[in-house]
Symmetry: C2
Subunit: 457 residues, 2 copies
């Protein structure tokens, strides 16, 4: 371990410098990379020093997701306290199934679940950390199915056909979970949205009524707080009224948007989340912990254990379910993802997260102003939170993004809006300064002009 | 980050020393720990130095799972190279869904999948790392269900009732997955075992035949390579013949035992695994990487993507499925668990893992000898691999284990064998020396004698 610690210090310091000097790495093909690195495990081991050398090369070739020019996916940034907690988790190597093995780490998770639940309007939530928002949504769906169809865990759907409702702008993990869980992706009803990307409540109710008449069993409505492409918020109060009217579980996928509960204005979107039954919230997105750090929160205690638990005398050896999170997790052995968030929250405090959400929101508004001032660019939507969707009329979006990436100016992804491919720029890293945003748009404008004159092949 | 790195160095060095001087921590109640630590997230952040102080206390209060006296669960130990890889994964913070974002890290995962598949007898497996063996088994079941019932992903079971077969000694994750996936835990048929803990093939075939006659759809047989309690290996060749005869998917849960494919004798148990359709193998168990590091391997390429994929244009932006592991994962955002195993394998080589499996097997045989020589103790089964089940006749097993734990002599769990609670001692940490095992048994014998004279209250 002393050698490992010394090696890590060197490699990490070099990486932080490289992230600044080479923030956007050119994409290399699998063939190029395989020619460069010997990746197959060896028969005889190599000395630790040689591992260190190989890691140095591999790290330099890995896309830099924490650089201030990474705007491509809904994670990134780096919080030193969260990083510290993540490394300590690896050192302690706690498996979070039982109190006997987890001890104080289980209490840390419970403290976060309690606090995050309260922020979402659940006075005394139960919950558990999961390896990502997709699995949090899946866990919520499992609890919903068990509520909609009594005896689901033991006997399955018993001839009933559950249906799931989500907007056409909802995350793909919802139909994916329905496919995995035997509901079937075709039994996910995609509800239309308005121009801002918000689910239309009247369309939702019409779908549920029609499904009930057709003999289906409505099992879960998924409302999204922070949609993937537009960053939009579904109207929770109106959706909750429909859910209660038809006795359907309401899950809120706030994987992306949840952290805006700290933001002075955007927190208004969370005023009614307490009317829902369960919530997904990812800390590895806007709270910038290392992957993965997601929580599933359920308002009523006991339902998760009822839907998921399975006795195992070799594992659960005493204590109440509350202190044995394995009884409400889809996992058995489980990495400790709570400690990193706990560390980050200690150092940031609520006040720090408020400032962080303001910073990323301000960057989005800066981007909006840059686009509105740029004759080459066209804003596709007024940003609902921190997603900026725009394009350069007359210029192919993919060609534009490739040009920006290849010239090292930024790593940005695209999305479909109004049936066409547009730029989706997201601001999750609060370390990105206003000047960086402005400089990025100077670069994008220049690339757009160049491509408008000489379109890419 | 410089402050984080300096803090980590200090905290980790202290922890390693504490792990040696205080390897078995007394269990504290939630009330005791909550009185000692302020766990709720604060409104205002605290200075980093204060976080460091708080972490110091919390680390000292966390059960020490990597100490050489932790024998309680199927993970533990610490491999410095794996630890290095895990920390680098946190620094790089790669999400393993696409080649565009993962780059060379995706190729590292593919290299491991290829190699691990080959060792299991799958010449060209597809696979993906998952957050634990339970989810690897669940993923295998998802693929099996899609094979057993065409159109499962899109339409669910369509009136069919799938059935799953596993032995009564199989891991609880199999019925748990059936409960989560809508199959229903009651549709998991638990096949009896022989005295060594191996599934009885004739009982399996009888169950399948009877189920087919009753109109059920046999969807998956789960054979276990390394059962949780006894460390036993199901007879793959005989089970495979039944699977082929009735056209049922054969999944091998080698989460625990998989690493014994390196062992000179125990590898014989893997000679026929290539006849199966999918395999679970955890590297966070006998290969001692930090949690979690599990892989699901499927023999035929394309089936995982077919069973799991869901299009998402905001995520999958080019390239073939092979290089976009998100298409065959139940997760979306995904921590890189491959790099830590890759690092460990570089330094250990196959030769190092062979030596590691010999070391843990020898410790188990030493334990067997100690028990056989101890008049106070009784061996319940000849060890199949590295699990030692024994008890102290006339002494309550829980009282014995509590006494051993409270006196700081070792952290050991119990299990049910032949309808009674016995000690289940497991050797996964190859750093445990023979003398430590011998000393442990001197302690266990003394505690057993003391309890036989004065039984615990």
């Amino acid at each position: 371990m002393p050698q490992a610690l010394a090696t890590l210090k060197t490699l990490i310091e070099e990486h932080l410098a490289a992230e600044r000097s080479d923030p956007v790495r050119a994409l290399q093909t699998p063939e190029q990379l395989r020619a460069k690195f010997e990746l197959a495990p060896p028969e005889e081991g190599i000395p630790f020093e040689e591992l260190s050398e190989r890691l140095r090369g591999i790290m330099a070739a890995t896309p830099a997701t924490a650089s201030d020019l990474f705007f491509n996916q809904l994670y990134g940034g780096r919080d030193p306290a969260a990083f510290t907690g993540d490394v300590i988790s690896a050192v302690l190597n706690t498996s979070m199934y039982t109190y006997k093995i987890g001890g104080v780490q289980v209490l840390i998770e419970l403290a976060l679940v309690k606090r995050m639940g309260q922020m979402m309007g659940f006075p005394d939530a139960e919950g558990v950390f999961t390896p990502g928002g997709s699995l949090s949504n899946l866990a919520g769906m499992v609890v919903a199915l068990n509520q909609a169809i009594p005896g689901y865990k033991d006997h399955g759907a018993q001839g009933k056909q559950p249906r799931i409702y989500t907007s056409i702008e909802g995350h793909y993990s919802v139909p994916k979970a329905a496919g995995l869980l035997g509901v079937g992706q075709s039994n996910v009803v995609k509800i239309p949205v308005d121009g801002r990307g918000q689910m239309l409540p009247e369309a939702l109710e019409a779908a549920i009524v029609s499904d009930i008449e057709a003999g289906f069993t409505p099992a879960m409505i998924n409302a999204t707080s922070g949609t993937t492409v537009l960053g939009a918020f579904d109207p929770i109060a109106a959706i909750s009224a429909i859910a209660k009217r038809h006795n359907v579980w309401l899950h809120v996928d706030a994987a992306y948007g949840g952290t805006f509960v700290f933001h002075p204005e955007l927190k208004a979107h969370f005023a009614d989340v307490g009317l829902a039954d369960s919530v997904t919230w990812d800390a590895h997105k806007v709270m910038s912990t290392p992957l993965t750090c997601s929580v599933i929160l359920v308002k009523e205690k006991g339902l998760m254990t009822q839907a998921m638990s399975q006795s195992a005398s070799y594992l659960f050896q005493g204590g109440e379910d509350e202190f044995n999170p394995g009884t409400r997790s889809i996992q058995c052995g489980r990495r400790n993802s709570a400690l990193k968030l706990w560390c980050a929250w200690q150092v940031n405090g609520d006040a720090g997260y408020l400032a962080k959400t303001q910073s990323v929101r301000n960057n989005a508004l800066t981007a909006q102003r840059c686009i509105e001032a740029a004759p080459e660019l066209s804003l596709v939507r007024v940003p609902e939170s921190i997603n900026i969707c725009f394009d350069a009329p007359g210029v192919d979006t993919d060609a534009l993004l490739d040009a920006v990436c290849e010239s090292g100016q930024g790593m940005i992804g695209h999305a479909q809006v109004d049936g066409r491919t547009v730029v989706r720029l997201v601001f999750l890293n609060s370390d990105v300064r206003t000047e960086v945003v402005e400089r990025l748009f100077v670069a994008i404008q220049a690339q757009a002009r160049a491509l408008a004159i000489a379109p890419a092949a």
